[in-house]
Symmetry: D4
């Protein structure tokens, strides 16, 4: 909770508009809801600009449905990541409007195209076809939360002319998400060509010594190109969240 | 080189304004300068919005001076990172205007305060006093290239009320750079409180099992908070470069 | 075996109450029972305050049943960890009173509520819903061996107000077990807020670079908060054992 | 800051004893002091039972002196860890009462022997003579903050009869800190012999494949003995802090 | 695209043979084909001497078939690595001439024996029978692209006389590919015996501390024998590609 | 091949007893047999005192049967490790005398009890019941090749009195194989108690931070006890081979 | 020793030209020389095409001089790597013709330019100025042993136009050695552009998470470009040896 | 202490020859001596066949001298490993007979040549000259404790004929210690050639990816040759201790 709210509550108490007991309750309960096995953070969107989403692994279908019911009641959008099709089939009965993307393994509520939160472009670039599920996790998450997305897939560094052919389009973007496995070198190549910040997503695609994406991760962290930052292995979702924060804050009136 | 330039050259050749020999030379030499042991990338600023800088480790003082001379001739600003004081003393004789920051270990040309490239704020936050040299590398680099910087140091997570006291100020920033060693948890805490994207910089500060910053690095990559991206261990410079790209692209007219 | 027992045996031998042959046998056999593939350590509870339990992985159902029979004969409580439901079904036929907890994957003999070994509170805190099976392993183990447990789940650091809302309750506890995956930062945040020692349990929940819990483990080992100690990844059982030793020794008359 | 304080402030505001402006300031400043490069957490002792201390690495002598001046003014005890003798010589001029322990590399203010915070015993056990500086860091820190300490050094597992000879004395302790490098097996052996919780401190002592203490760290985390928790490599200080929290909370009236 | 091509296009534009628009198109499209989820690099063979192949993992059968159709249209040979038999069965219906090698898990178009690109020999040596699938991936790939292959399997270093017996035959080869798991020492032994360069392929065969081939990989990278270079774990394909480039460039007229 | 043999062949050639062609053949073929996918090292027993065995992983049943046929023809004993029961069922039809041990996963030809190669004792000690399959791999291999084996299982260090009770029996052994997972401390404890050399076998048994046996491996390599050497994780077979070489060489006439 | 030599000796013995005693001596001593602390492998050049060189670390100046004396007597060229200037000063007195290269830290005997072993080109490419000492180790070693070398330094991937400008020259080479630290991506970019095999040399240049060159090493091993093989970190010498074997074998008459 | 001693004490107590008080003292003090910072294990030789030695790192000269005085009084031989020359100079004044070996960095009391504990041979083999200090640590330790040692240095696998030339001599040994850095392959080669057990000692000699000896360590642990066991990196001393236990137990009368 932001200090502005505390000040308002204090003023209300001082002005006699609020008892101190009610004030205590507000301080304690405004911000999250306790449903036994979870504490739902409904005002995260207010605080950080991006809403709470559901990370499915380790949760039972029952738990996911309960969380969705509470989120819907609280007026939050539903987005579930890393979720299997069988869970979607169950949820579909309760939550009519939801859709499922099999490549990205995401359940989401589609958004009206016109309701973009920003007309800045988030470019999602991938090195190979095998990186596509991670790239789509980033692209769909971005779209669900209202961003314009430009996809450019399979332009890995072994054929660098493919990347150069898209340089102009990439220069239009306000953020570029680069998804790459193996040696992850695409992030550096893009970072050296575009004015936008680059969010690099290492993937776990590769032979033995990729060690589940470690090679691409280290490669991206050591990028010699300026303005490259990195998220976790296969974390297309996290890249989208960072990109969304960037395009949203660009819309804020300058302070 | 961007395709726009190629098209212009092609048009000039087609229009007879340019011989194809001269065109070839332009294609080969416009963009960098060959000085034996280095190929200076003078038009990087044009391409990526951020200029080439000199990373000192592994370069002799003689090489650094030669590079500076060529950069100065090309009209580029001088910024040298990870550089010792003795090198500064030698350079000072040749390049009068330069300054040295001992904490950040940076040689730079100071910039006229009014010439800000953006009035967006880059907040630089550190977890402990021991992280200050990395934080200052980020802060000074940002300032040298024209950004407004807000410093908030030593607000690590062991006393979380310190962070909460600065929440409002951090919410003003357009980007927040979080510098932390040990368990690096500050990045997650900040990421959950502010609307701006967070660039996390792990530092090598810590006891044995920090393994030179690996603990903080992994912690930050696994952040449960939205919008946290990560750069290399102790890489305050890299964080500044990403932050600069962000605030600069915010100034661009929407496309 | 403690030296007190040796002295007693020596005195008995000196006083003619015991032949030296019988003394030898006592020295050799008092403390454990040899059942071919296992040596049951029946007097561990006496020595360390916590009884021997059965760690199921790598043992056949047949071996588990044999061990249970000998433990029951020796008057020890049965607690089996990391055990599947199918094993429970088989054991249930032989050992009527036992129960199974599916989340914690524990078989246990329920304990009469009044027979608490201590009225000190062990708080079990988790960062996310996905950490719940490890948290429950800790909570149930603590309860089976006679402790009072307070559960507070899903208060991870991305929404720090959730944790602050429970600060008072956590300050009541005599030990706090913090269960967290991903960046494991909750342990540091709790460590900075409560007077009780904190036992941190890293979990294997997370994206790629959590490396099976390594990220949370290193994060917790590097905690900047005072009084945080760490157990193995996903080792809710081990945390409970340490917490039990703490609350039990608090009950001991001061020496 | 604890919610109790917030309630008190709210009540005072409601009762007209406090203006809301003053209340805001209190909420912001009660708990720490801002001295440019550091935010001193003076009320940590109140909150967690253990005071803030100064971790010297990465801090200049000048910064350390400034911090000490503010801590002394705030009535906090001075304890500085990982600090060289030359710093002590400088500080000695300003802060008369301080002492230096060369083995533990600690600067501290000696405490009146009678003023023990608890008469519970913290046993500090080491495997070899080479582990002594870490063991002394734990022992001295414990003593400075008012605990009774029992030292038992060089009883490593290669001669297990040495450990057995001290079993009785170790059973008297309320907490046992076990300091060991190489294979770190002493923690398991002690954990199987005593009723007290064991805090294991891996040290960086060892041949090549100890990898700076990693071998002992992993060994201790995988301990098969009940009630063993672990702190960072060479972190004698952290072990003492956890032990202190334990003995202090034992003194608290049962709730 | 090579600069020669650019010069030719420039000259054509200058000579009026080509409009600048057509030139732009050529620069953009000559070199790859965009099929939604992939950008096929048809002229890779021209540029690097070795054609593009299909790495199956992470691609659906549908995607593989689409890529094959485009490659066939473009006149490229089909080679698919790490592919299951079920995919072969589906492809077989569309692409009559293809074959499947079960050990190497490769789908390929057989090549007319006489059409060797070089009569230099690529020797493929393996340490054990368990390394054979990787060795066959190297051997078959080499043969499909026109090389002469000599296989020598199961001559690991535990019986060094087996290797010595083949020394003469190995000395005939122009490149030797050494495939070995466990300690991977065979690469060093061969490197010390033959005049040809050795390409070492570590395999993931081994007990626990082989860590999925890491032991053999490090062993080969640290080879004390001259002229040993290394490819990724289990990467028989990569070794073949490097060997092919070597024998092909030997055929080039000296410059 | 040993130099003695070369000299003999040379002498025979010099004496006209042997043509140089026949000599060449002998030098090349005496020592192994080439069966396409394998080179059988029949005289390994002569050279190293221990025969060649078959490591099943990565070999097809067909290949295993072929190798067995050639080994039987050459008069070698059959021992197959890490082999499934289904393979045994197939082999049983061809090779009547063979047996299968399900715990050790070994196929072997039983040996007449009287035909011991040595009456020295190999003790096989395990820390826990879960380590038994590795311990049995060591024990059965030792017995098949003619050694006397003494088994002592489940005497891990958490109850050190169990180990002390067997000290006398362990002191009888000429070699002690210690099999332990988790922290692997048993090797050090045994190493400090017995005169025999200790071969330590780390197992992959343990919670998360055992990292597949790495913790026990490092622990054993860093043993502070004298005379402890280590083999690969879960490599009971390797430990047996080393132990067999030791007891066999003890039987050799002193030189 | 090659089997050809054995046959010749055998024939000589058979023909009475050689006693079997002399034959034995030849077999034992032809190939190396025993000088107490070293066994000099004089005929390595014959066997592998590249001569033995001296790796200085861990050797005393005295030992280096002794080895040089024996190598000179045997007619071998002297090349010493990783050697300090002070050693050169001492050697210079004894071995007049030698030279020292400070960047590469190599002592060598200069070679007559005309005496090239091949007119094939070895291109040595580096990503940054800081990689130059490793690049020079490769270049000088290649030249000393008779190769033509083409240097192209500082064309890292952050400014990819620099690399493209040299594409034509790199296409002339028969082998390309790519030296790069940080993310090591240059190897992949070059591998996708040239027909020659690429030998990648990772360097230890980089920030924290380069982990002493590990990042570049893994990146290069995972290269998505065809024909890239890798040598050890900073091993410019090893790359040169492999390149030399390649160009030498190209000169061999086809077999 | 062994159970035999306990029985004797018990019998003496039963027979009235010993009071139980005296018996208690004997049980507690027979076996080690407490000198404040160390507990000297004087009867280790009795128990394990090898005496306690002093590992110098982390001990002050003062502590080393004190330990030596007590060991001398107790009649134990002095052996100090990893010790600098300056310490030797100080000790020399007090302990006349001691000697110092600069390569092995060992202080020791020379032993009368005739007093061999066994005439079995311990062969110490090294791969390169740079491994000599570790090899000498093994050789000297073995000699000081009474073994016959055969040294064969610099016979690494890159010139395998050097190893073959010594095969006969190595076959004479009862134990072979193989010392090797880089890829450590020599251990496997020797293991496949000799009947004796092989103790492999990885050294930290190597380029970057040896990672301080990790490459050789893993290589040796994964040895495909029978009878190879491994000790810690650079641990020549540990190898000697294991070898000594082997040759000593060979001298024991068969049981």
């Amino acid at each position: 909770m932001k200090l502005d709210n505390i000040r308002k509550i204090l003023n209300d108490v001082a002005g006699g508009k609020l008892s101190s007991d009610t004030a205590m309750k507000k301080l304690g309960s405004l911000s999250f809801e306790d449903i036994e096995f979870a504490k739902l953070d409904h005002h995260r969107a207010l605080r950080t600009g991006v809403p709470e989403v559901i990370f499915a692994p380790g949760k039972t279908d029952r738990q996911i449905i309960t969380i969705c019911e509470h989120m819907q009641k609280a007026g939050s959008d539903i987005l579930i990541t890393r979720v299997g099709k069988s869970t979607f089939v169950k949820l579909k009965r309760k939550f009519k409007g939801i859709k499922y993307n099999e490549i990205a393994k995401i359940i989401y509520e589609p958004r009206d195209k016109k309701a973009l939160v920003s007309n800045k472009i988030i470019a999602v670039v991938s090195a190979g076809t095998a990186d596509m599920n991670v790239a789509e996790e980033a692209a769909i998450t971005s779209e669900v939360f209202g961003a314009r997305v430009e996809r450019v897939y399979d332009i890995g560094i072994a054929g660098i002319h493919r990347l150069l052919a898209y340089q102009d389009r990439l220069c239009e973007a306000s953020v570029v998400i680069v998804v790459a496995g193996m040696e992850g070198a695409l992030a550096s190549a893009v970072g050296g060509l575009v004015p936008a910040p680059v969010i690099a997503v290492p993937t776990s695609i590769g032979y033995g010594a990729s060690f589940g994406g470690l090679a691409a991760l280290l490669s991206m962290l050591n990028s010699c190109a300026p303005g490259v930052t990195v998220v976790n292995i296969d974390n297309g979702f996290g890249a989208a969240m960072a990109a969304l924060k960037m395009v949203k804050i660009m819309e804020r009136k300058s302070r």
